[in-house]
């Protein structure tokens, strides 16, 4: 290996791997070898760093991201819930594991304008279907939920995707 590469830190290499795969994994039979050649490091090292990033959560997973609009999931409701602070862990775990929920976060509330502290994205083929699913969650939560609402997006104003700087 050339001497310049020996001195590269894992952190720098990880950053280069992130940049090289920001647009996706190469559609090549040996994608990690392809990346290794691109980055000037052995594919074993690329795989090791990717496994490390999968392990510590910097990479959530590798795979496909379907376009949910194209797959017919055109109604995507952001359900928001006002959960007592002492129950947020228990309720968050329960809601997050429901099949119908894709993202589930505890977020800061802003009283009095915004009383909700649990956010869960609910997907459906129609708004009525999303409302049914939200009603189902409300039933599950019972009196652990003080109030809730569901917000539908009516327009995408900007979508640039997340990019880290080069």
């Amino acid at each position: 290996m050339p001497s310049t590469e020996k001195s590269e830190s894992s952190e720098d290499l990880d950053r280069r791997i992130v940049l090289a795969t920001q647009r996706g994994l190469p559609l090549d039979a040996k994608p990690y070898q392809w990346l290794g050649q691109e980055l000037g490091v052995p594919q074993e090292l690329v795989m090791e760093r990717i496994n490390t990033m999968l392990g510590d959560g910097r990479i959530r997973r590798i795979g496909t991201v379907p376009n949910h609009y194209r797959l017919g999931y055109v109604a995507n409701g952001m359900s928001v819930w006002d959960i007592p602070d002492n129950l947020i862990q228990e309720v968050g775990q329960q809601v997050g594991h429901l099949e119908m929920v894709s993202h589930c976060y505890h977020r800061a509330r802003h009283l009095p304008d915004w009383p909700y502290n649990l956010f869960a994205m609910v997907h459906g083929q129609t708004q009525a279907e999303v409302h049914d699913k939200v009603d189902h969650i409300a039933q599950l939560l019972g009196d652990r939920n003080r109030q809730h609402d569901v917000l539908f997006s009516t327009r995408i104003l900007k979508k640039s995707g997340l990019r880290i700087g080069a």
């Binding site: 990690y32 991201v65 976060y105 997340l162």
Partner: protein, 147 residues
Amino acid sequence: MDALDRRIINALQREFPVCERPFDVAAQQLDTSESELITRIRCMLDDGLLTRFGPLFNAENMGGALSLCAMQVPEKRFEEVAKQVNALAEVAHNYQRTHRMNMWFVLATETAEALQNAIRQIESVTGLTVFDMPKVDEFYVGLYLEV
């Protein structure tokens, strides 16, 4: 989209192997060939059925800062404010939603300080309050959609 496309979308939403010939390994479980799997993924990307194939990064674990912000924008100022907010490179996406809080955007910056600066800048340009709703905890992030 046929049955094989569906199997590919469903299976590869869960995981993809890290090994020398990952498409070959994945193809065996999908009852197809390595070259067919690569072709199918390429076609679904070109066709827009897939928005992405590859690693999904967690921006916060990468050292950046990320927050969901909301604003109550008066209807008659909506277009103007959308333009002002979108002008900031730190705004990654922005949605109009059905609520009194009708504008929802994600701020992504390299540092927590830059994120607070972006919020102050939006407040000063628009004259409106930005409700910053950073994530306190994450219970589940899965984009799994059965097709």
